[in-house]
């Protein structure tokens, strides 16, 4: 089993850097696309968002924050994020720590600026990029710890989502997905119409989501071959969610953690081989 897949930590982190870089380019490009919303009168205008930081408003840092979080400086920061992420995508295996730190810093500033516009993919991105930063600037034992940190966060992300869905009655009956695909903001007309024709389809999809999220991630501890089953199913899952619900960044953000999960599963192979 161990011979079937060989992946060094360097390879795994390189692939993660590339996928996380693509996600950060997509994220930055979309923020630039809606940059009008950052200006006065936009839904993400700093003039309004600053009121959700009462401690900052009372502090002496507010003047600096007013400069950093409003255009044109904030827009320039997003451009810097895109450029730095482009460097990561072009040279993923020689990722420099300062380039990674730049992308992380801008993403954290964006998280701080507007919690209302944050999506789950943003947090997974910071998790993966931070581990990549450790890899770029630390010795091997730490690299392993950083890899396992990402793998465990990935496991937690799916399992927590799966368990909470399992405990939610509307997910068990299929009503949750029927409701989601019905909305124009998150849903898809075709999926809604098919769900109306075949309600059992929605119930099955809800249960498939619950089973995948709460059971499949544990395959990580079954070794690399079983982990590949989990990751392949995960990719299909995110593609489906992307098509139906329009979560473009989710696909890249979670896929960026996959190479590290696979590398950790190879550690598990070794563990079982030794035993």
């Amino acid at each position: 089993m161990t011979d079937a897949i060989t992946l060094t930590w360097r390879d795994a982190f390189g692939m993660s850097v590339m996928l996380a870089g693509i996600c950060s380019i997509l994220n930055g490009a979309q923020l630039l696309w809606i940059r009008r919303e950052f200006e006065s009168g936009g839904i993400l205008s700093w003039r309004v968002l600053r009121t959700s930081h009462p401690r900052l408003l009372r502090s002496r840092w507010i003047r600096a924050a007013d400069v950093v979080f409003a255009p044109p400086v904030f827009t320039a920061l997003i451009v810097i994020q895109v450029l730095a992420a482009l460097v990561l995508v072009l040279r993923p295996f020689e990722a420099r720590s300062w380039v990674l730190a730049t992308v992380i810093a801008v993403r954290l500033l964006a998280n701080f600026r507007s919690r209302v516009a944050m999506i789950g993919a943003d947090q997974m991105q910071v998790v993966v990029l931070s581990a990549c930063l450790v890899h770029a600037s630390a010795p091997l034992p730490l690299v392993q710890a950083a890899g396992w940190f990402v793998a465990l966060q990935l496991l937690l992300a799916y399992v927590a989502a799966g368990i909470v869905k399992l405990l939610t009655p509307s997910w068990r009956t299929g009503a949750a997905l029927r409701g989601i695909v019905r909305t124009r903001s998150l849903g898809l007309r075709v999926a809604y119409l098919q769900g109306e024709r075949f309600p059992q389809l929605m119930t099955a999809a809800c249960w498939a989501t619950i089973v995948f999220e709460s059971v499949f991630p544990w395959l990580l501890f079954g070794g690399s071959a079983l982990c590949l089953v989990f990751l392949a199913t995960g990719l299909l899952f995110h593609l489906g969610v992307g098509v139906v619900m329009g979560f473009d960044e989710f696909l890249w953000a979670f896929a960026a953690a996959y190479p590290l999960a696979l590398r950790c599963a190879m550690d598990v192979d070794l563990f079982w081989a030794v035993r």
């Binding site: 936009g42 839904i43 003039r47 309004v48 209302v116 516009a117 730490l142 989502a161 939610t168």
Partner: protein, 177 residues
Amino acid sequence: MAVVVEALLALWFICSLANQFCPGRWRWGRRFTAILKRTDPLALVPDYRYFAPAPPAFDLELLYRDRLRDGSVTPWRAFDISSDPRWRLFWNSGKRRYQAAADHCARLIHQATLQIVGQRTAEQMYLSSSYVAVVQYVAGASHSIAGVETQFLIAVSAGFDTRREPAIALVSPFFRL
């Protein structure tokens, strides 16, 4: 140095784990959430409970209309919240705009509900950051050239299910443009 980094990663993971399973009805859970809110302004600790326990089943629609100089009002106009289904697997730039607008609208509906039961005053709602955000957003939209005032309306709709009538959740007073 290595120990410090390992400890930080471990702390990050433990906080992430705790954040998924700290229901608000337990005292320690509420305390943890409150501490996290104060100490994690960068949102480092993730919340992975996507679409549960309250999956969205309705759209929040934001509409506005203008009052013209002669006192008449224009028909309601809605902000577009849908995205092109052909491309959104690769490109969905509107999702953050919608999410921010929907988040503010949901907070406003919540505050209006509190106002009805006497736990909030109208002034508190009008001075809230969500109200100011929506007012700014509506004021920044395209208006009739003869418009002097505008007002917004938040409606809850069943999306593609046209058999259900949308419900009006909140109507703002007119405010000057």
